[in-house]
Amino acid sequence: MSEIKTLGIPTPEEIKQAQIDFAPRCTSAGRVNDKETQGTVEYILNFARKHSLFVMAYGTGCGAIEIPATMTSRYDAERFGIRGAATPRQADVLLITGYLATKTLKRVIRVYEQMQDPKYVIAFGSCAINGGMYFDSYNTIKALDRYIPVDVYIAGCMPRPESVINGFVKLQELIKNGNAGNGEAYREDLDWYRKNQQKVIKNWDFPDKYNW
């Protein structure tokens, strides 16, 4: 048993525990305005939110190269109201483009926490979904939604600009129906997320008080 452990292969019990611990959460807490219950004001505001998406493009992996193509003349994401934001304070959408090293994850969490509600996350490329070609890498995370809540996944390696825009359109749909934006959920379920985050981030030095 002991030599197996040193190889890094988990025991069945550990796998079971991990399945419980790491089970992706799809919580709807804090979504005050789904399609049936949202009032007129919220409907109008959702319309504005849907058509004005300031994107914090966190160029984590190789996917960052698709962003310029999406934003510039050929695909022109600005016609959907999608626009780059300079800092997380101004941003609505956090775009995780590709694989996420554990070092980068720390920064991504920080950026996500600095964004203001309602905030959305789009995970971009296979790597952010299940690790992709880095599925057995020791220093990348495999499933993003164990660390921060994700609204929309865009599959592909890499996804072409068309599918990126498709992802954004999907996000717009979710916003319109009031199903997007997991800031509240993240805050409520913070303990779970923190546990997962601390598992992979070794030099954890975030302030104890939740300060965003």
Partner: protein, 318 residues
């Protein structure tokens, strides 16, 4: 009492006009930019959507009292200057406080907002903000010189420091752009710095400084700043139209028709004027701060001095 109510109503009308026009111009700029880059671009009303979204953000953060106040300063400067600038020739609705302040006052009041904003940006403690402020203030010292020179030229030529009287001068005679072209050139070049589009956009360069002074502001703060900025863009344009392009509303029509015609005239003139910095911005790379300052101290200042000489020649000093 009725007079005061009328005034307040007029002030609201002016503010709403400035806000709507300023926001639409911002949208138009984005549309024009997109078309120049062979894109479709966002809809013209995109800025309204952005503003609505920013104001509807559920959480907001402030780094302290000055940070909280930062957008307030901008709104103060924008609304106050707006009240002292004549929008239309002698129109009842837009004749707010136009005779109560003169050009020197306007010049100083226009800086008020940026200074307050700078204080707010300073309190956030973000080094990018401070850097942006440092660049912005340095650039201010650049473009204010030609602007002031051109204003002095106008004051000397027409023996008045009041913007309303400068409009009256143009009512009877030709436009000041004809009477003193150099002053217009100097002021126009200075306006490039005032609008902070390329090549003078190093203050809030998004990629380099993370949008500089506003890097820590989001939600309602950013939204309010956007509102102030939109009103300010309108103010600058109207001021230039009043000073150099004969103002608007100088027609013989009575009542609502005259006002409407005046507004159309104003929109046409301001839009054409606005397109100059926009188009220059579209085809320009970015100046470094010292290059920008040196630019303003060279050609625009030269034209400003020329304008003063021209003014003195015209008013018969020599």
């Amino acid at each position: 009492m009725e007079g005061i109510l009328f005034k307040i109503l007029g002030a609201f009308l002016t503010a709403i006009l400035a806000f709507v026009v300023g926001m639409f111009y911002g949208g138009l700029r984005r549309k024009v930019t997109a078309r120049v880059q062979n894109r479709v671009g966002p809809p013209v009303h995109q800025n309204f959507l952005d503003l609505m979204k920013l104001q509807s953000k559920r959480t907001n953060i402030a780094h302290g009292f000055m940070g909280h106040l930062a957008p307030v300063w901008i709104i103060i400067a924008a609304i106050t200057v707006l009240m002292f600038i004549p929008i239309l020739h002698g129109d009842l609705w837009f004749n707010n406080l136009t005779m109560k302040g003169d050009l020197i006052f306007l010049l100083y009041m226009m800086v008020f907002g940026s200074l307050g904003m700078a204080l707010g940006a300073g309190q956030t403690g973000n080094p990018n903000s401070a850097m942006g402020v440092s660049r912005g203030l340095a650039q201010l010292a650049g473009f204010e010189i030609p602007f002031m020179l051109s204003l002095i030229a106008l004051m000397l030529q027409f023996k008045t420091t009041s913007i309303s009287e400068l409009m009256q001068v143009q009512e009877s005679g030709s436009w000041i752009i004809v009477q003193n072209p150099f002053a217009f050139i100097a002021a126009l070049l200075a306006s490039l710095g005032m609008f902070r589009y390329s090549p003078f956009d190093i203050v809030g360069a998004p990629a380099e400084l993370a949008s500089g002074p506003r890097s820590e502001f989001g939600g309602k703060y950013l939204g309010t700043m956007m509102t102030g900025g939109a009103v300010f863009a309108f103010i600058k344009l109207v001021m230039y139209v009043d000073l150099f392009l004969g103002g608007a509303g100088n027609n013989n029509l009575e009542g609502i028709a005259g006002t409407a015609l005046g507004l159309v005239e104003l929109l046409v003139k301001t839009f054409l004027l606005y397109m100059i910095p926009v188009f220059i911005g579209l085809v320009s790379p970015r100046f470094r701060t010292e290059q920008a300052i040196q630019f303003f101290w060279k050609w625009p200042t030269f034209f400003g001095l020329l304008a003063i000489g021209w003014a003195l020649y015209k008013n018969g000093t020599f």
